[in-house]
Structures are given as structure tokens and as C-alpha cells.
């Protein structure tokens, strides 16, 4: 069976755009004082990590809550649903691979995929999708993330396809094939041994 691993955030949806532009009204459920809210929100929008030496902090909880809101609000990228349906119609096994903390984001992720008409077989959290593909013998990965497009020492028997974005223009891409739209990808994929 042909198998493809497909990333979710910024590949199938517009997560970063949602994070940067969506409105997040103050709510006490964020567990931060009103005067800290805007500062924290700007830090999250800039993608700043917590310099604190501790794992679980007020800020880390805030990041989790804002990201969870983005998971709900994000929009499907044009052609993404049709691409996923095309994979299903052509009998691909589809594995969604994501950085999301699925312990807490499993339900919202499944709901979003269902509501946006995106079929899949399995859902996996992995911080290194190339390593996952190597371990599970998956030969095709669709992913925007720079980790999947960077170092040479990663497994080289995985074909990586990425949606071309401005971040890819700024950095040297060492592997992978960029696509401008999902129709392009549909034309290429049957030619690969996945």
C-alpha cells in the first residue's frame, strides 16, 4: 500500500497566518493578569519561547491556550481538502504527522480535519517527521517545516514535498521539492515510489 505522511499546520492549514492576525480577546481562562495579556500575546505571535528554566509556567500555559484557539480558527489552504480526498480515492494510506501536543489537541485536531473534509488513517505526534518516516518506512512526506528540508544527514530515501512559502525563500533548502499548489503535487506523486 502506498503511504504518505502529511503535516498539518501551515501545510494543510494557515496556522501561522491565523496566529499573526486573529483576534484573541482577553479571557480569565488564559490564567494571566489582564496587564500581561498583550505582552504575552505579542511574544506568542513572534514565536518566542519561554527563557525560563522551568517546563510548566504561566507563559507555557498561555502559549498552549493561544495555539489551541488557532487550531480551531485556522482555515484550510486552497486545494488541501481536494488533495486529501484525492489521496483517499487513490487508496493511499494517510498518516497525519504534527508537532501538536496530541494529548491535549487530539479532539480539536480530529474535529478540524473532519469539518474540513480531510480524510486520514492515523494521527501521530512527532518532532522529527523525517525520522518518523524512516522508522515507519514511509517514503513520501508533505511538510513545510524547515527541519524536514534542512540537514543532509537525515534519511535520504524519503521524498519531501513542501508548499513554497516566503520562509523557504530566505533559507537554503537542501532537500525536497516545492509545490505552488496541490494540483501540482497530485501530478507528481504517482511518479514516486511511495
Amino acid at each position: 500500500m502506498k503511504t504518505v505522511a502529511v503535516d498539518l499546520d501551515d501545510t494543510l492549514n494557515d496556522f501561522t497566518q491565523t496566529l499573526e492576525t486573529a483576534e484573541f480577546p482577553y479571557d480569565s481562562a488564559y490564567n494571566v493578569a489582564p496587564e500581561k495579556f498583550d505582552t504575552y500575546l505579542e511574544k506568542v505571535r513572534r514565536g518566542e519561547s519561554d527563557p525560563n528554566e522551568l517546563l510548566s509556567t504561566e507563559y507555557s500555559y498561555f502559549v498552549h491556550k493561544i495555539h489551541a484557539e488557532c487550531y480551531r480558527q485556522s482555515q484550510a489552504r486552497p486545494g488541501a481538502a481536494e488533495f486529501m480526498q484525492w489521496l483517499r480515492e487513490n487508496r493511499w494510506r494517510i498518516v497525519i504527522v504534527t508537532h501538536r501536543d496530541l494529548r491535549r489537541a487530539n479532539d480539536v485536531t480530529r474535529q478540524w480535519l473532519r469539518e474540513n473534509g480531510m480524510p486520514f488513517d492515523h494521527l501521530f505526534l512527532t518532532l522529527n517527521k523525517l525520522k518518523f518516516c524512516e522508522a515507519w518506512n514511509v517514503r513520501c512526506l508533505v511538510d513545510d517545516h524547515l527541519i524536514s528540508l534542512g540537514p543532509q544527514n537525515e534519511p535520504d530515501d524519503v521524498e519531501v514535498f513542501y508548499p513554497i512559502m516566503s520562509k523557504h525563500e530566505r533559507l537554503p533548502i537542501q532537500r525536497g521539492r516545492g509545490f505552488r499548489n496541490f494540483d501540482e503535487l497530485k501530478q507528481w506523486m504517482p511518479n514516486y515510489d511511495c
Binding site: L55, N106, H122, K131
Partner: protein, 245 residues
């Protein structure tokens, strides 16, 4: 013993920690009728975690057998409305070197043990890798909200003791199971497991120190046979720590 101790927890869902992976493995489990909610592959190495639901009894038995044989670790979830087990999960809250035993942890676990024991809810304390699990087993089920309120107040007393000694309570992350705010989200490893990172057996911590594996099983058995808490005893303990009744 494991089945009896954890008998109050739902048996239709589980998280399994294992190095087994690949579609052949997954499809073998799914053929039992279980459903994969999600999987997880760790950043380093090939450790995998799978959250399964709709697990049939025979498959759960297989998971328990694999757990005892140390081929994998079994973690169970708590009931949605009520439970006869509750557990404090104390973790070292540092981003790095968090399997190191810090003074805050040493003191917190003993303070909490003392508070619970004095209240009549002696816990079974098990080393978890990043800290300790303090399990309490009741003779019958109790509403999650009541268990949670009891745990929050007991932990607050322990952290106050830490504060009085000039130690920073933020260095410890305390989670409570069951947590009514996070139903069906978090699970806990059963006793008898080997921690996936440091490969250490889940030893029982007594006031005298950590027991070796064989003695830990004996302590587990002793707790099961003699230290289950009656519901009236729990009510008394709840009043003592100031939890709403």
C-alpha cells in the same frame, strides 16, 4: 495484583509505551477491535506511545502481560465521573536534567505523605522517573470533583511546608488524577513499569528509602491487602484538609 489494584480504572482505553512500531504492529493491535486515537514518536530514539480506545478485554490482558514482562509500559486513564483511585503526580519541573532528584522533590513527597497519612489516607509512593506518584486506593468510587478538591488542598499544605523551608515550589509540577478539567486526556503508568528514559524500575519509596524491585512488589501487595481507604475514612480526611464535603 495489578488488575486488582487498578480495578477501578476504565479498561477500555490505555496508553502503551513501547519501542514496537510500524504498520504491521499497529494493524495487529487494531485487528483486536481497538482504535488508535493517536500515536507519538519521541524525538530521540524509537520510543513510541499509542493511545488506544475501545480496547477489548483480551487485548487489555495482552497489554498487562507485556507490562509485567517489561516489553512495554501500560498507562491507564481515569473514569470520567468517579474513581476509586486517585494519584498525585509530582514531577521535576525543569526543562533539562529533570530525572535528577532535587531537594524540593525530596521534601515535598515526604510532606505530602505525612499530610495524607495523618489524615488517614496513607499513600503508596512510587518513583516515576521525574519524581513520584502517590497513589491512594479507596474501597469504593468517589466523585472526581471531591477527589480533586481533596488533592488540591493536601498539595497546597505540602507546598506551604516547602515555602516555609525557603524552597521554591515552582520547581515541582504537581498534577492530580483524576482532574475534572482534563477528562480522558492524561494517563498514568502502572506500578511494575520500567521508565523509558532512565530504565529504572518503578520502585516503591518508603520512609526508609527506595526499595529494590522484589521488595517493591511486596510493599505493593501489602498496600493492596491492608491500606485501602474506606469511604468514611476519606470523608474524615477531606474534612481534615478543609475540602468541601
Amino acid at each position: 495484583m495489578l488488575k486488582e489494584f487498578y480495578g477501578g480504572l476504565p479498561k477500555d482505553r490505555a496508553k502503551v509505551e513501547t519501542y514496537e512500531h510500524g504498520f504491521e504492529y499497529l494493524e495487529r493491535i487494531l485487528a483486536s477491535g481497538a482504535t488508535l486515537e493517536y500515536g507519538e514518536m519521541s524525538f530521540a530514539g524509537l520510543l513510541h506511545k499509542y493511545k488506544f480506545s475501545k480496547v477489548p478485554e483480551e487485548q487489555m490482558d495482552e497489554f498487562i502481560n507485556a507490562h509485567i514482562a517489561k516489553r512495554s509500559n501500560l498507562c491507564l486513564y481515569f473514569g470520567r465521573a468517579e474513581n476509586s483511585l486517585f494519584c498525585f503526580n509530582l514531577d521535576n519541573n525543569h526543562k533539562t536534567n529533570n530525572t535528577v532528584l532535587i531537594p524540593e522533590m525530596t521534601l515535598a513527597v515526604e510532606l505530602l505523605r505525612e499530610i495524607l497519612t495523618e489524615a488517614g489516607c496513607e499513600p503508596l509512593v512510587i518513583a516515576s522517573g521525574r519524581g513520584y506518584h502517590l497513589w491512594c486506593r479507596l474501597a469504593g468510587a468517589m466523585e472526581n470533583e471531591r477527589l480533586y478538591q481533596f488533592m488540591v488542598r493536601s498539595m497546597a499544605k505540602a507546598l506551604l511546608g516547602l515555602h516555609k523551608k525557603g524552597l521554591d515550589h515552582n520547581k515541582i509540577k504537581a498534577n492530580f488524577y483524576p482532574d475534572p478539567r482534563a477528562r480522558n486526556v492524561v494517563s498514568l503508568r502502572l506500578f511494575g513499569s520500567v521508565h523509558v528514559k532512565n530504565k529504572v524500575f518503578s520502585r516503591v519509596l518508603t520512609r526508609g528509602g527506595l526499595l529494590e524491585e522484589e521488595e517493591s512488589w511486596k510493599a505493593f501487595e501489602e498496600y493492596l491487602s491492608g491500606k485501602t481507604i474506606g469511604l468514611e475514612g476519606f470523608e474524615r480526611a477531606a474534612r481534615l484538609v478543609g475540602a468541601p464535603t
